[in-house]
């Protein structure tokens, strides 16, 4: 894509639009300066490390669910990676087949002289990125930018600077970026400038307003975009700023997390929620790539990260966005059906990597740490994605409490996927079901048979598909549903009653016994340290695999097996994925092993903020960010939501001594619920009567204004 912003005839503005903007710009900038007083809401950086500039561009992305703008300095040049990402708009790409379109950044300013980065601050509460450059005690430049959460596709940059510094004139620019896959993006940007040269203050004020429209099938019309853009221009930056405060204020009311006693963790949780909220649209379809709208890595492809990690966060905090994510999968059911048919199967088989049209866009080769090509087999073998999609649909319904979520076009996500598994399972002479040659979440081991995670997810998918059929929500033959139940029961699950734990796959215990502690510390890139072949012959696990089962399907595993599986697999897990740390933290918390849980949680909260992967420059690890929420909500708060007909919201906290309280806001069955979790009690407040079960206690209905509920007698057995 070589789309560029083109100067156009200046819109019908004779300069009168600039009248009064100095006051509006100054008002916004002054109010943002005060945000520094709220350290648990701001990510602040002073000065500039050249090496970290691209990392900060990712950390400082501002987004609105439709567009994401990297947090580059306004004057950034060739050493940087500025850019704009538009959700769901892909283009043909020789390297990755289909990749998320990358457009030039609108958040730019011309400067007369080179300036240091100064102080930059991303205020999570308002979604505004603020900057101040002071030299010799004198402020030379201040800027603030945001993407309007309440007006997706509209973004604003305001700036005030020395007339000798700012070199920005009035401008009207347009962008037409048709995609080679159909559809594309249109944009229009207006710059209004009030030149202070010769004035009493010598300060120049600038407002850049950008509007974008996109389509996945056809390029959007110019008229609709122009009308929306005119409305944004007509209200002006100060009103748009007020709207932004209100929109984010409303969003935080339904999703905020606070760890009282750990301000850094609170900030990390809010940082995660901020970027999750900004990465997912809440209407239409939402294709949520592995890096969201923050960077080009992973080509914007949609993985299980989206279904299993990101979707639950949104289902619990902003259900409209979860629904848009399901819509993305629903619209690609026909492609999944074609993929199944191409393999001689029935039903729907979702691709490991998906983009524009739902075809499999997983590359067949990639580079290793030396830049040498190695084969990639996940596209052929990492089939659990099909059950993951079904799990996500069920999860969305469980949070809303509505079976209707699973009706209509959404049914296929559970029923057609069940039908795929029914045609995928091999039944042996003794009547046992097997799934041969797959890759589980642990990608160090390829082409394994009877991976416990894949088999149990498939069995769960078959049972839920059968349940939907039997509930009469689907016209499928009931005989087929009974067959699915039978297959689910027959499928081997890897559980060994003698040891009380699961075998990750057939033959796992026969592999070379290597513990990650012997490889020089955890996490560790075991595939590099041991080499790809040896790690494949060893018991070293890349990320939670058997343990991921305990996280996703806690009701489907034998009681007591979590502790046994944790004892066995944790010392074998390299955490070679940003997804691994938070899930282990969650499960360790469930087990009451809080010190270990906190150690991993501390790493998890720094995956992007501390650039622990060395790749944050290319975008944020959206699923890792979501994992932090999983750890806090499912792990430490012990929130458990399994079915649309759950009789109560289950809360069973494990609160470390060093925290005074864990506060969580979420939506359950249409109610806004605010929890304050302590070691011995939970305060529940909600927008209406809400049935809860705290610890092992009985069911209680809490009505507004809410109150403290003591923990039940004893605690639930993990």
């Amino acid at each position: 894509m070589t789309a560029e912003l083109r100067p156009s005839l200046v819109a019908a503005d004779d300069g009168s639009a600039a009248v009064g903007i100095d006051g509006q710009v100054a008002s916004v900038l002054d109010r943002m300066a005060g945000a520094r007083a709220r350290p648990e809401w701001v990510v602040c950086v002073r000065g500039g490390s050249k090496a970290l500039r691209r990392v900060r561009e990712s950390l400082f992305v501002v987004s609105d669910g439709m567009t994401g703008t990297r947090g580059s300095l306004e004057e950034d040049g060739p050493d940087t990676s500025p850019g704009l990402f538009v959700a769901g708009v892909f283009e043909r790409d020789p390297e990755s087949g289909q990749s998320l379109i990358v457009l030039p950044s609108w958040a730019t300013l011309g400067l007369h002289e080179s300036l240091p980065p100064g102080t930059r601050m991303l205020d999570l509460r308002s979604g505004v990125l603020w900057r101040e450059v002071a030299i010799g005690g004198k402020t030379r430049l201040r800027t603030a930018r945001w993407s309007c959460l309440g007006r997706p596709g509209t973004s604003v940059l305001v700036a005030a600077g020395d007339s000798g510094v700012l070199n920005q004139g009035r401008a009207h620019e347009v962008l037409d970026a048709p995609s080679t896959l159909g559809g594309g993006v249109r944009g229009v940007i207006d710059t209004i400038c009030l030149d202070g040269a010769g004035g009493t203050t010598g300060t120049t004020h600038v407002v850049r307003t950008a509007s974008y429209a996109s389509g996945t099938r056809r390029l959007p019309g110019e008229d609709g975009l122009a009308a929306r853009h005119r409305r944004a221009l007509s209200v002006g930056p100060e009103v748009l700023f007020e709207e932004q405060l209100a929109a984010w204020g409303a969003r935080w009311k339904t999703c905020d997390i606070e760890v009282v006693g750990d301000p850094e963790l609170t900030l990390a949780a809010r940082f995660a929620l901020f970027h999750l909220a900004g990465s997912v649209a809440d209407h239409g379809e939402a294709a949520v790539g592995a890096r969201g709208l923050s960077g080009p890595s992973y080509a914007g492809h949609v993985f299980w990260d989206s279904d299993v990690f990101v979707l639950p966060v949104l289902a619990a905090t902003h259900p409209q966005s979860a629904r848009a994510m399901l819509e993305y999968r629903i619209r690609r059911l026909p492609a999944a059906a074609r993929a199944a048919a191409a393999l001689g199967r029935r039903g729907a088989r979702f691709p490991w990597e998906s983009a524009h049209d739902g075809s499999d866009v997983t590359p067949r080769a990639g580079v290793d740490e030396r830049g040498e090509l190695v084969p990639i087999r996940t596209g052929d073998l990492e089939e659990h994605i099909t059950a993951d999609v079904a799990w996500a649909a069920w999860q969305a319904a469980a949070w809303t409490g509505r079976w209707t979520t699973l009706e209509g076009r959404c049914r296929g996500l559970v029923v057609d996927t069940a039908r795929y598994w029914a045609s995928r399972i091999r039944t042996d002479a003794e009547g046992h079901g097997h799934i041969d040659e797959v890759i589980g979440p642990d990608e160090y081991h390829e082409g394994v048979d009877d991976n416990a995670f894949t088999n149990l997810m498939a069995a769960w998918n078959l049972r839920r598909g059968a349940e939907l059929v039997e509930r009469g929500h689907c016209a499928t033959d009931l005989a087929e549903a009974r067959q699915w139940q039978g297959l689910a029961d027959a499928l081997v699950d890897g559980y060994d009653p003698a040891t009380g734990r699961h075998h990750q796959f057939r033959g796992f215990d026969d592999l070379e016994a290597i513990l990650v502690g012997d490889l020089g510390g955890v996490p560790v890139g075991a595939d590099v340290v041991l080499g790809h072949e040896r790690v494949a012959r060893s018991q070293v696990v890349k990320q939670a695999d058997v343990l991921m089962l305990h996280h996703l399907l806690p009701g489907e595993v034998p009681p007591g097996s979590l502790a046994r599986d944790m004892d066995y697999y944790l010392p074998r897990t390299a955490h070679g994925s940003s997804l691994s740390l938070p899930i282990h933290a969650a499960l360790l918390a469930r087990l009451g092993r809080l010190d270990e849980a906190l150690d991993l949680l501390h790493l998890a909260q720094n995956i992007d903020i501390g650039d622990l992967t060395g790749t944050t420059a290319a975008g944020l690890h959206l699923a890792g960010l979501a994992g932090l929420w999983h750890a806090l909500v499912f792990g430490f708060a012990g929130v458990r939501v399994e079915r649309p007909d759950d009789a109560a919201l289950t809360i069973d906290p494990r609160i470390p001594d060093r925290w005074r309280e864990l506060r969580v806001r979420l939506r359950w069955h249409g109610r806004l619920v605010a929890l304050r979790c302590r070691a011995d009690a939970v305060h529940v407040a909600s927008s209406g009567p809400v049935p809860v079960r705290i610890g092992n206690g009985g069911l209680r209905v809490v009505s507004p204004p809410g109150g403290w509920v003591p923990m039940g007698e004893g605690k639930a057995t993990p």
Binding site: K50, A51, R54, P78, D79, A290, S297, Y298, A299, P363, G366, V367, D368, E369, R370, G371, V374, I376, E443, G520, P523, V524, G525, D527, V528, V529, H532, K542, H575, G576, S577, S578, L581, L603, I607, G610, D611, L612, T613, G614, T615, A617, A618, G619
Partner: protein, 231 residues
């Protein structure tokens, strides 16, 4: 040792070889913006006692602040593929740690500005891997791409190697006329293992550049490419 510690500019050791490598010495001085100072180090660089000489030399250079150009012994130099004794190609050794990357990027720019084709070889050790390594494919691609960019966006001739560092540098030096080694300026036994290993058998001159000096060198005069003597 005192003679080393007292000198300014680009130290060149041993002084006895400076004439043989006059063009390389001059060129290196121009690249760094420093005047070369051939300097004596006690001991015989060309005998079996070379390792003793290296220890004496290292003990001396830690007392200096600037770079040191270490010339090979005549015997080692015979193995060099550079009969003209000029710099047609330089190799900069780097690693995946921030201070070394910064120094390597600065040095790369200086050689490039002087018009000398230059490669960067990153010696990847396990301890230098990022804390979380997500594997081949997208992660490795994004990581190597960022590593390359941190070395300077112009660093196109860029290789990552994972073998024994000393062996890898010997291999890389076989295709170069000077090996540039940013170092932490700490020489006691247990440190600078790579420096010792490379200097033991190096067929081409080795430029040791302290990290702190490299950072400061951005303020020194930059070389112009129109005087580049290499071909």
């Amino acid at each position: 040792m005192n003679t080393l510690a007292g000198a300014d500019g680009l130290l060149v050791v041993p002084d006895t070889e400076a004439g043989t490598w006059a063009a390389v010495v001059e060129e290196t001085g121009r690249v760094l913006g420093l005047d070369p100072h051939p300097t004596r180090v006690d001991g015989d660089v060309a005998t079996d006692a070379r390792r003793v000489w290296i220890e004496q030399m290292l003990a001396g250079v830690v007392g200096t602040e600037g770079p040191v150009l270490i010339l090979p012994s005549t015997a080692d130099a015979r193995r060099s593929a550079n009969p003209d004794r000029r710099i047609a190609r330089a190799v900069i050794a780097s690693e995946a740690s921030e201070p070394v990357i910064g120094a390597a990027a600065i040095l790369y720019r200086r050689f490039a500005d002087a018009g000398i084709p230059t490669s960067i070889v990153v010696l990847l050790t396990f301890s230098a891997l990022p804390r979380i390594w997500e594997g081949s494919g997208y992660h490795a691609h994004a990581w190597t791409n960022e590593l390359r960019r941190r070395h300077g966006s112009a660093a196109r001739d860029f290789t990552i190697v994972t073998g024994a560092p000393g062996d890898e540098l010997q291999k890389a030096a076989a295709h170069a006329d000077v090996l540039v080694l940013p170092w932490r300026h700490v020489a006691p036994e247990g440190h600078a293992r790579l420096v010792r290993s490379v200097l033991g058998e190096l067929p081409v001159p080795c430029l040791l550049v302290p990290l702190a000096w490299a950072q400061r060198s951005v303020h020194l005069r930059t070389p112009s490419s129109n005087t580049a003597g290499s071909t």
